[in-house]
Subunit: 152 residues, 2 copies
DNA sequence: GCGGAATAGTTGAAAGTTCTATCATGTTGG
DNA sequence: CCAACATGATAGAACTTTCAACTATTCCGC
């Protein structure tokens, strides 16, 4: 490879800030959720299911929504099923398909935990940013998102 | 908990954009590194060591620098040691201490891979942002970083 | 200098993730 | 119609991360 374009100081700072913020933030949110016996991944599943009509979602769609492999989701749902938070139901339309469905307990857990989790996200992220910064963040990240999604 | 302050649309968009970008980006960088037989975590260790005088670092310092538990780092270094990228050396000053040291092969790997990794970071992140956006990102994230670090 | 607390690091088992193979069902072109 | 290919989902093995316990050393107060 011909002489590479190394990152400038500004570029490097931004990139490293992103990485560091993400790691520390996830760690913190994880600690905060842990009091409710949930992991960040568990919570993400609960959010996605609870936002859907019927509080259910096809496995593949849920995998796409949460940006993880089908296999990983399958294991994840098995664990949450064991914990009583979700169940699997056969899909009547497509007999290959399966729904992940929020149980009563899953829904109750979601309602109980959500306020604390939102507070957590505020305390450690959202409330430390101005409205302009939040807008700027979205503006900056959306094209990246489009780019990355286009790569599959 | 009294009625929680749910996230506004703007807040939610920014937050979710951050999460989605991070996941997709790490996945992509992982794929790009995979061709060199490295994981993102391997690479992070290599960067940190190669930036240090003597290409060595105390285990604890390296754990802090890469924001991970000592235990996790210990396993990670064991794997990289098995792969020939690093070695452990006793610390003469503090007999409890251990250095992680880049091997010749580790350093060579770093030099070979870095240009491609930087290109990757450019293609999927840095070059999709303007200079202003990069500055804004750093400005936004640094206070969050300080806040999170202060929590330990 | 001695006993207790703190620090540095490792270990092994359990929990979680990734990778690859597999099964069942669906879709499509001849 | 039916063979071939595509899709939805899961299972198990291999690998990585977490958690708790442990060893060895250093620091601190008396």
């Amino acid at each position: 490879m011909s002489t590479p374009r190394w990152l400038t100081t500004t570029e490097q700072r931004a990139w490293r800030a992103h990485l560091a913020v993400h790691k520390l933030l996830m760690h913190r949110l994880g600690i905060d959720l842990q009091e409710f016996g949930l992991s960040v991944n568990d919570y993400e599943i609960l959010v996605n299911l609870s936002e859907c009509p019927g509080k259910r979602m096809r496995m593949s769609d849920l995998a796409d929504a949460t940006i993880q492999s089908r296999s990983r989701l399958s294991h994840q749902i098995s664990r949450m099923e064991a914990a009583g938070l979700v169940t699997r139901e056969d899909c009547p339309d497509d007999r290959r398909g399966t729904f992940a469905v929020l149980t009563e307990e899953g829904w109750a857990t979601m309602q109980r935990v959500a306020p604390y989790h939102v507070a957590s996200v505020r305390d450690h992220f959202v409330d430390l940013l101005t409205d302009d910064q939040l807008e700027a963040l979205e503006q900056a990240y959306n094209p990246i998102l489009e780019h990355l999604k286009s790569l599959r």
